[in-house]
Amino acid sequence: MFERHRELLGSCFEKISDSGILIAGVGGLGSTVAELSVRTGFKNIYLVDYKEVDEPDLNRQILYTKKDIGNLKLNSAEKRLKEIADVNIVKINKRIDENFDIPDVDVIIDCLDNFKTRYILEEKAFKKKIPFVHGGVKGYAGQVTVVYPHKTKRLKEIFGEIEDEINPPQVFPAVVTLVGSIQISEAVKIICGNEDGSLMNRLLVVDLSINSFDLIYLS
């Protein structure tokens, strides 16, 4: 099923196939990241989530349909992903906290919905020297950056102290799939060693309401 991009990726394709990817959160961003990871050729996919599919999720969580409402996201996601391709899915039905153990993976994709948990996971990724692809969305906008242990700033150094919102923000479905797509693209660059072309030491800020795509060069 990969004939249309295997040649494009060259030797990188085998690296992707052999890699382990952890997707933290299988909600909006995580749905797009998970589906594209399978379609790109990742074979070993670790999904972390503990929630069930809720009706308001369906505007942007593209792995799920009305039939999945009430089901554990991990189970619905696994079913959908295995319908696309033969992949190894490891389901981790846990809330990420100080006791969370990161499995041995090559890259972590941050699809979480709050900075408090992001900072906990990034701390653990740093200790295990695992690259961390951050994404966040709100309204029509989002941001992406790659945190690479000892090569970039830490996530908290980039953003500082953040007060998470109590209520879930309004979010435009298209920006969720856009940011998720950029995140999986960054994961491919990290796996394939294309650091210069990546968002390492760069923060991409997008706003679809005004079609702005801005880079901040971090130092």
């Binding site: 966040g136 906008a141 941001q143 953003f159 500082g160 102290e161 007060e163 030491n201």
Partner: protein, 94 residues
């Protein structure tokens, strides 16, 4: 002079305006931006908030400010001379 650039959703909140302000410390720079753009900043410990009028309603944003690509709070940058100040609001949803 320091060029001040709002990025992402904040661009709309300041009427798509960039501006230049005189060198100085952070408090003075934020005060000058407030005077020019009619927005308000509040520093609470390690957090910075901005209030702006968006579509006739007051909106409150938590913001991160970068000077030369460094977060001015986490890097404890006190004085600013020339260069670019980038201001964003981090988005936390997933």
């Amino acid at each position: 002079m320091i060029k001040v650039v709002f990025k992402g959703p904040l661009r709309k909140s300041v009427g798509f305006r960039d501006l230049e302000v005189e060198d100085g410390d952070l408090e003075n720079i934020l005060r000058k931006i407030s005077e020019e753009l009619g927005v308000n900043f509040k520093i609470e410990g390690d957090k910075i908030y901005m209030r702006a009028n968006v579509d006739g309603m007051v909106a409150k944003f938590m913001i991160s400010i970068f000077y030369g690509g460094k977060n001015v709070i986490t890097e404890k940058i006190r004085n600013f001379e020339g260069g670019v100040l980038d201001i964003i609001t981090p988005m936390g949803g997933g």
